[in-house]
Amino acid sequence: MLNVAVVRFPGSNCDFDTLRAAERVGTNAYFAWHRDTSLRGADVVVLPGGFSYGDYLRSGAIARFSPVMQAVQRHAADGGAVLGICNGFQILCEAHLLPGALLRNAGLTFVSKPVDVIVERNDTAFTSAYQPGERLRLPVAHGDGRFVAAEDTLRMLEAEGRVVLRYVPATESSPLQPNPNGSACHIAGICNASGTVVGIMPHPERTADPLLGAPDGLGFFTSLAAARPRAPTLNVPSR
């Protein structure tokens, strides 16, 4: 069974939703605490949303140096899959596992609402269950979601096809306000060069249960469940 570590920092939220969504697709999901130095044989790591360490200094800036993140760095360097959701995306940027940074929303307000996004690529560890070009309606809830990066970094991300999710422009069939935060190139999610580390601002775990409406977010979890176990694991932890 695939081991999925959901990392909890002081101030994480949607951690139980994330755990439930990972369990729903048949994985052995468990929590890792920010002080843990081991991910206990995780095949996949998920950094959930929230306000780790109160978002003090900058979102993700302090979480980035927590003991568990040293283990996440090693996991990612070994080619392990890591998904950062919202605050998790901010932490991955601060940790330099993904390029760029997430700054205060252009409108200055905290934005909490559904948005329409387009799946730009489905050959990542977390989007293989979707079709390229597929449109999803996912909730966002963030104050610091404006993706910025140096011009040459943005060009590189586009040239290498590393934009995973993009906010869809408003149309008649999709009247939601586009780009809720002023992100460069309407970026809602990106990945590293190998597609194993993915950061997204929307919260797929909040729409992974049919009881809560169209389960548009479930695909992120069915995708990760298709990952290959990384190594034989002894003493598989249970939560």
Binding site: L57, A101, N105, V148, A150
Partner: protein
């Protein structure tokens, strides 16, 4: 020796600074039409024990590069004061 270090972290020029814009609008609304180019950053003060002023400054630069400022989006200025 002990030094008091004042660190000023500012959003990099050219990057949209919505906080600065909002403050500028508020100043204009309050009748301070002469105010412009408002940018909002962060000030951090800390005490540093070091053998010399350059050593204190070098250590705080490391702190800035590692944690206090984000090299992707922010610039910083240091002021070192012997105490």
């Amino acid at each position: 020796m002990s030094f008091r270090v004042h660190v000023r972290v500012m959003p990099r020029g050219g990057l949209l600074d919505p906080q600065g814009q909002a403050v500028e609008h508020a100043l204009t609304a309050l009748g301070f039409a002469e105010a412009g180019g408002v940018r909002v950053g962060r000030a951090i003060e800390l005490d540093v024990a070091a053998g010399s002023r350059p050593e204190a400054e070098a250590r705080v630069r490391q702190m800035c590069d590692k944690l206090l400022a984000n090299p992707v989006t922010e610039d910083y200025l240091l002021e070192v004061e012997e105490v």
